[in-house]
C-alpha cells in the first residue's frame, strides 16, 4: 500500500476542480488536486521512490511497489517551458517521501493567467485501487491525500 502525500500546502479541490478536462475527467488517472497557497515554495515528492520524469512543471515518482504518481504543478504550465520552475533533483534520482523536488511560485503561475491548481494522479491505477481520497478541506504539505492498494 502506498500513502500518497500532498506535494503542496493548500485547499483540496478534487480532480473535478482542475480547470482542464483531461485531468478533471480522470483521463490521466484517478487522484485528487490541491489549490496551493499563493506563495513561493518547494513542491515535495508524494511518495518515496525514483524520479521517472522531471519536466519540471510536472514530475513522476515511482515507489518500490511500482506505483507511479504524477504531480502536475498548475494547468497549462507546459507552455512555460520550465520558466519559473527549478528542479531540485534530477531524473533517475531516488527521493524520500516529502523531499523537496521543485521550486516554483503559485503566485507567478497565476499572475501569468494560468491556474496554479496541482493535480496528483495515480498512473495506471483503477479508481477502486484508491482509498481515503481527500476531496476537500485544507491540507498541509506532506500530509496524506490518498492510499493506493
Amino acid at each position: 500500500m502506498s500513502r500518497v502525500l500532498s506535494p503542496v500546502a493548500g485547499r483540496v479541490v478534487g480532480l473535478a476542480g482542475v480547470p482542464d478536462p483531461v485531468f478533471a475527467q480522470a483521463l490521466v488517472g484517478p487522484g485528487t488536486a490541491v489549490d496551493p497557497v499563493r506563495a513561493a515554495g518547494r513542491a515535495v515528492a508524494p511518495v518515496a521512490g525514483r524520479v521517472l520524469r522531471m519536466q519540471p512543471h510536472a514530475y513522476v515518482v515511482v515507489d518500490d511497489e511500482g506505483h507511479g504518481v504524477l504531480v502536475h504543478l498548475g494547468v497549462g504550465t507546459v507552455e512555460l517551458e520550465g520558466h519559473g520552475f527549478t528542479p531540485l533533483v534530477g531524473q533517475g534520482d531516488r527521493v524520500t517521501a516529502g523531499q523537496r523536488v521543485v521550486a516554483w511560485d503559485a503566485r507567478g503561475v497565476e499572475a501569468g493567467g494560468r491556474s496554479p491548481v496541482c493535480a496528483i494522479v495515480a498512473l495506471d491505477a483503477s479508481r477502486d485501487a484508491l482509498s481515503r481520497v481527500r476531496a476537500d478541506g485544507v491540507v498541509e504539505q506532506g500530509t496524506e491525500l490518498f492510499r493506493w492498494e
Binding site: 482542464d20 483531461v22 488517472g29 504524477l70 497549462g76 504550465t77 507546459v78 498512473l123 495506471d124
Partner: protein, 90 residues
C-alpha cells in the same frame, strides 16, 4: 506485425495531455500495442506510466507496433495524436 515510426510533434514532447490521449486510444484496442524509442525495449502503449517513462521529446522518433485485425487503423489514430503540435491545452 504492423510497425510504424512516427515523430513526436507535441512541442513539449509526450507530456501528460498527449500521453493520456495516446494511452486512452491504445487501451481501446483488443490486441497488444507497444511503443519504443530507438535502442530501447518496447513498452506497453496502454500504460501511461510506461508512455511517460519513455521521456519522448519534441522531434524524437518513436516506433509503434501492433498485430492483428485493425492494426493499421489503430496505428493511424495513434500517429494522428502524435502528429499534433498541441492537442488542446495541458
Amino acid at each position: 506485425m504492423t510497425e510504424r515510426t512516427v515523430k513526436v510533434m507535441s512541442r513539449a514532447g509526450l507530456h501528460a495531455r498527449p500521453a493520456a490521449l495516446f494511452v486512452q486510444t491504445a487501451a481501446r484496442a483488443s490486441q497488444d500495442v507497444t511503443v519504443s524509442k530507438r535502442g530501447k525495449d518496447p513498452v506497453n502503449a496502454k500504460s501511461i506510466l510506461a508512455v511517460l517513462g519513455l521521456d519522448a521529446h519534441h522531434g524524437e522518433e518513436i516506433t509503434l507496433a501492433a498485430r492483428g485485425e485493425g492494426a493499421d487503423d489503430l496505428l493511424d489514430e495513434l500517429e494522428h495524436i502524435l502528429s499534433q503540435e498541441e492537442p488542446q491545452r495541458a
